[in-house]
Subunit: 83 residues, 2 copies
DNA sequence: GAAGATTATCTGCCATAGAGTATAAAGTTA
DNA sequence: TAACTTTATACTCTATGGCAGATAATCTTC
């Protein structure tokens, strides 16, 4: 399932969801991605100033990929912005 | 058109393509995104340690959005990795 | 090929990410 | 509720992003 994300907070939420879906702990993911567990915790928490390569490492470790596309009028996940 | 990206370098290339497609200079985009022209230059160049919020600001300024999805076996743009 | 526009780099400065290491706080299960 | 696991925070230190401000290098165009 493709997840539209518009903020670091949403990115973190998606990462967490997929990590749990794969039954991995933050420590597991950290090891795979080559970062520290505390870093995983922060990125999942939506750290805005996280580094791009750190994010990419985490995505790769979860077998996720990124698609960039022109903004669509209104996507379903807009509702998430309310929370 | 949706663009699959797997590295900061590819992200930078996509940003540059869209920026030019909208006939904007780096300075224009910088102003819209609230960053410096030098920063735009670096991110388009593929700076791996760029900050997440900086990237998001640039994407938003170009009316682009990000989708995170499970990795597909082999996407067309894999070929781009050769260059 | 000179002028003008655009992009790439540089210096100084400050803020902070993430490593390393550790512990506190939450959650989970027996 | 004690024991264990998982996640959130803390502290020091080093590296570097991005701002300010500016200039060099590289296109464009006439």
């Amino acid at each position: 399932m493709a997840e539209l994300v518009r903020s670091p907070k949403q990115i973190g939420a998606v990462l967490r969801r997929y990590r749990r879906g794969q039954n991995l702990t933050q420590a597991d993911l950290a090891k795979r991605a080559g970062v520290r567990q505390s870093t995983v915790s922060q990125v999942e928490g939506g750290l805005e100033t996280a580094k791009l390569n750190t994010l990419m490492d985490m995505l790769r470790a979860l077998d996720l990929e990124v698609v960039i596309q022109p903004r669509t009028k209104s996507s379903h996940s807009d509702i998430e912005d309310l929370f």
